[in-house]
Symmetry: C2
Subunit: 410 residues, 2 copies
């Protein structure tokens, strides 16, 4: 039988290899070397015992190499041939599959993936990206302002469209459905899309600005694609999808359908994988995969909002979805979750202007209602762009003044 | 604005409500009551602030009720109307979505879901189930014996088919691809299926037993469906899918394609969600969802093998996928991961005979090769069924004797 060793600190990653970084806490009595060996084995060609069916040429061609072990961080270089071109599910079944369950380990986190150009080239990536989105909306430099229709669920189709209309009228560029609103008894997908797009057209005429509606198409794959095609037929420019609860295979199907619609990616459920610092899969890795799959916009965290996510982490994610990587376009980072006008200044200071600022409660919770809430948000953005403190800008802008009084200036 | 309270300990769950049990560890300074309130809110109709757009009729109709808080466990009853009929992604975007990221919480685990009959009835569930699988294979009472072709990846199509042939010849009923083998440069899906099904036919003729091949169709949804149809055309009876890395929308698409193929579900990656006892999503919940979606066979853990998973947990999962639930058929539990003939007796003692015993290394690692390995496994099953200790049975069965010597009798 062929004995194979996977730890090779002299190995330097080759051009075509994928480099994966894991954080590892071995089980009691297991060394880091041994744990690294078992991870490399189970995520590629090996199993718990030597095999009569193993062949030397397989080990030679497909064996990954653990080339770095530093503290609790290991790096493994995987030969490209271990992965099916253009398949995210197969990649994850390898490098984020069985290994989490191994008794050799107490904790494991997939921290980062560096794809080789050959692997990246087997994916489409975003069809629009930041530039394409900006062009579609005719907005050159400023951050986009978006909202989620609230309450999350419960409004009927006409009420939903009305809330969207008010948001656009007040100054929102984008209006999206919430992650748990798909096609419900009290609000059916088709009627909602028709009604809301009507209001989009009306608000475009009345404001002279381009407006977009991002209907949530999350469903079983074929139903999802039917819904996306319906959006296209009705003159929509966008769809949104809950990428993790729908799953990678469906996300890839949506991109490959190539309907000419901008794809907005909600990450509902990500924190079940990403939040424990030494377990699961980092949001950075998920974000890079979403970029490969071809989303145009992705929720990355709001830092200053209601959800967990540090400045360092969110900056890292933004870098991961916008930095140069082969032919891939940049993904538009979406900041969402507990934002309101008082937080805009701080957010822009940290992340700059190439972001989408999305607020639900922070707009529809405004004491004077949705229109005033959207106005306050646009005013907060104007203030930040002009370098004027929100409090000062509020002296001449009453909606902003009310918002700051209601929720605070930070 | 409408103020809504979600904690209602006097509420008793109604017939149509879904009851979800969470384990909760609030953030510092947050009470369990407050944490429960925020979870119920964010997973249904609310957000972090009161809304101008909220309407009393929405709260009345759609508000969930936290009806139990005991220690760190809470139970919430959700009105049926919050969920789209027949959609697992939408359900998870609600009850396993944003809530994991909330700053109010330090830890959160979705522990269990009790579906109402009305919700269950919106899903097909398994097409075959345990009875249908047994009928297809002509095996009445005994546990099925399965193997995974090993090494996981690296064999070409003919080598793969040959290993499968040897496994069937030695006594395996089922042969499956590994979770990371899909369509590779060195082993293409179509050629592998054709070659391996040829060997299946040959082994059926030679052994007089029914044999099945479970090719891994995991891919982008449309490609996955094309692969499944190809399997059907070629006379296959089964497909396997990595349900978590492909995702729920694709899994539902596979079942809804209704190709007359038994669906074998691999759970690669589950432990990233399931393993931390107070975080993520329990395997029990995932298993129940997989049953709704319609898998016929599901990996549940091996207890005595190489992977994490206690006896109590695995028994709970088996119960969850086989107990009476509306029209749903029972899912065949698959025990896999580090099994070998020496472990069969202990496994059957714990789980009984309505299981599939799957061994990869424990068959292809046998000193005398795959045929002998499969023989040893069947012998171990015979011994256990006859109530004869494996060691005694080994006196008259040399393949078993070698396996026990090689890996131990326990």
């Amino acid at each position: 039988m062929t004995k194979i060793s996977y730890v090779d600190k002299k190995h330097s990653p080759k051009k075509n290899e994928l480099v994966v970084e894991f954080k590892v806490k071995p089980a009691k009595g297991i060394s880091m070397e041994r744990a690294a060996e078992e991870i490399a084995k189970e995520s590629s060609i090996g199993t718990w015992t030597d095999l009569a069916t193993m062949k030397p040429r397989i080990a030679k061609k497909l064996k990954p190499s653990v080339f770095s072990i530093k503290g609790n961080t290991i790096q493994i270089a995987y030969p490209l041939e271990l992965f099916e071109a253009g398949s995210i599910p197969q990649l994850l079944s390898s490098i984020a599959g069985n290994i989490y369950g191994m008794k050799y380990l107490e904790r494991l986190r997939l921290e980062n993936i560096s794809f080789s150009a050959a692997f990246v080239n087997s994916f489409n990536g975003p069809k629009f990206g930041i530039k394409g989105v900006r062009k579609t909306l005719g907005i050159k430099d400023r951050p986009l302002v978006g909202t989620i229709v609230k309450p999350k669920v419960g409004l009927n189709e006409k009420e939903h469209a009305k809330v969207a209309y008010n948001a656009w009228l007040g100054g929102c560029d984008l209006v999206k459905d919430d992650e748990n609103l798909t096609s419900m008894k009290f609000n059916s997908f088709k009627k909602r899309v028709t009604e809301t797009l009507k209001m989009r057209d009306k608000s475009e005429e009345e404001t002279g600005e381009k407006k977009a509606y991002m209907p949530n198409v999350t469903a079983e794959t074929n139903e999802m694609l039917r819904r996306a095609k319906f959006v296209k037929q009705q003159g929509g420019r966008y769809v949104m999808i809950d990428i993790l609860t729908a799953g990678w295979a469906a996300l890839q199907s949506l991109r490959e359908a190539d309907l000419g619609l901008i794809i907005h990616a909600h990450r509902a459920g990500h924190a079940a994988l990403t939040r424990i610092p030494d377990y699961g899969i980092s949001m950075l890795s998920i974000a890079k995969l979403a970029r490969l799959a071809g989303v145009d916009q992705l929720h990355v965290g709001a830092i200053v909002g209601k959800m967990h996510g540090s400045e360092k982490e969110v900056k890292g994610i933004v870098k991961g979805i916008t930095e140069k990587s082969s032919h891939l376009k940049s993904v538009f980072p979406v900041c969402s979750g507990g934002l309101h006008p008082g937080k805009v200044e701080a957010l822009l200071k940290i992340l700059g202007t190439d972001i989408i600022i999305q607020a639900g409660g922070g707009i529809h919770g405004h004491k004077k209602g949705t229109i005033a809430g959207a106005k306050a948000m646009r005013q907060a953005v104007e203030a930040a762009l002009q370098g004027i403190p929100a409090k000062d800008y509020a002296l001449m802008h009453k909606e902003l003044a009310i918002a700051l009084k209601q929720w605070g200036a930070k």
